[in-house]
């Protein structure tokens, strides 16, 4: 039987039960935060629509998992929102064979079901819902634990989506990588010339972007565009801030010589200069980047 730690202190790190609307980085706070307006569904209000009859809405207080009715997830977005409650609680997602895939906690069950249906439609076919009346963190965690324990007790298994490391159901907030630093500091004597450090860096990393400012706050429009393109392509890339006078002192002049390219940003793939913002943008518009990054 799968070992699973159900102590409240450890659940958030060992098991993935947060809804996609909760931030991975702040599990404690996310229990209390309202689901942020999701960028994925900007036009849909998740507030209960008072003009519509609520008869279809699945409203059920928390019961045992086995005694909770299973409701099919409608294909149409509006119906999902109408059918499932926009309130906090627990929910259990089943696939098309009614096999339990994931038990989650959410601030808005409707929003979470909608998000799952959108990201994994093949696994999100029907859902059991348990509304938690006084939805503080303890109550929600308790509800979740009771369903998890019941399921584990009955099957001897953790739902596949709740297994540690399974990222199917919980959107990983892509954590921005830190920018790389070329040297240990401006006043530290380098044992290898800066040029060689650049050479190693671009050859040891598949995609490297030398930008102005950090990747989280680029300081020039061209660098910002480059970061935007790389992020939208989902590329795992390294960034180096050429304006960092402490850790990348002298980089701008040395890099210009190294690459024989007088401006920034500069993007390298497999050790080769691809170009600056213009070239990257043009390749992006022509759809040539995927091929470039696959090489």
């Amino acid at each position: 039987m799968a070992t699973i730690n159900l102590s409240p202190l450890h659940t958030s790190s060992s098991l993935r039960f947060l809804s996609p609307h909760s931030s991975q980085n702040t599990p404690t706070l996310s229990f209390y935060s309202h689901p942020k307006p999701s960028l994925a569904f900007p036009s849909i209000s998740l507030k209960p629509n008072r003009h519509k009859p609520r008869a279809l809405t699945v409203v059920s207080a928390l019961k045992k998992l086995s005694e909770t009715e299973l409701f099919a997830v409608p294909a149409a977005v509006e119906e999902v929102v109408g059918k499932f409650p926009d309130v906090p609680g627990v929910y259990a997602v089943h696939d098309k064979n009614d096999v339990l895939q994931f038990i989650g906690i959410s601030r808005s069950i409707a929003a979470s079901v909608l998000a799952h249906q959108k990201s994994v439609p093949e696994l999100c076919c029907s859902v059991k819902v348990g509304v938690v009346d006084e939805p503080d963190r303890t109550a929600l965690t308790q509800a979740w634990k009771s369903w998890m324990e019941e399921h584990i007790g009955a099957t001897g298994k953790v739902p596949p989506g709740n297994e540690s490391g399974n990222a199917t159901w919980v959107r990983q907030t892509p954590k921005k990588k830190p920018d790389l630093r070329l040297t240990p500091g401006r006043h530290v004597q380098l044992t290898v010339p800066l040029e060689e450090l650049i050479d190693r860096l671009v050859k040891e990393n598949k995609v490297v972007a030398f930008i102005k400012g950090s990747r989280s706050a680029p300081m020039c429009g061209f660098s910002q565009r480059v970061v935007g393109i790389l992020e939208s392509e989902g590329v795992d890339y390294e960034s180096i801030d050429v304006l960092d006078e402490e850790y990348n002192y002298g980089l701008r002049e040395t890099l210009k010589k190294y690459s024989n390219w007088p401006t920034f940003p500069q993007i390298f793939v497999n050790g080769e200069l691809v170009g600056g913002c213009d070239i990257l943008s043009s390749m992006y518009e022509k759809g040539e980047l995927a091929g470039l990054f696959q090489k």
């Binding site: 020039c220 061209f222 007088p262 401006t263 600056g276 913002c277 213009d278 070239i279 043009s282």
Partner: protein, 104 residues
């Protein structure tokens, strides 16, 4: 020496035009000063040539034939090396061969 003095008096845009035209035999050459879009930019404030730091360059040249984009941009940068050393900060370059330009 007379011509050198004259060149220095010209605006950077005009100098760029003359250099690109003669070296790359451009059939189409458009240079647009977009420095105003970058006013306040650190590099612009420091520059002695305040105001002429950022340009859009559209250039069509038979010399780009068979050259990669990186090579074409380098050719443009090489021609403008002096300008880049004296305060020209950034170029947005569209570099095409006559055939490519005709396709659009």
């Amino acid at each position: 020496m007379g011509s050198r003095g004259a060149t220095a008096l010209l605006s950077r845009a005009n100098r760029m035009k003359i250099k690109l035209q003669s070296t790359l035999e451009a059939s189409i050459l458009e240079i647009e000063d977009v420095s105003y879009q970058h006013a306040g930019h650190a590099a612009v404030k420091d520059s002695a040539n305040a105001g002429e730091t950022h340009f859009n360059v559209k250039i069509v040249s038979p010399k780009f034939d068979g050259q990669s984009l990186v090579k074409r941009h380098r050719m443009v940068y090489d021609v403008l090396a002096d300008e880049l050393r004296s305060g020209l900060h950034a170029l947005s370059i569209v570099a095409k061969t006559p055939q490519e330009a005709a396709q659009n």
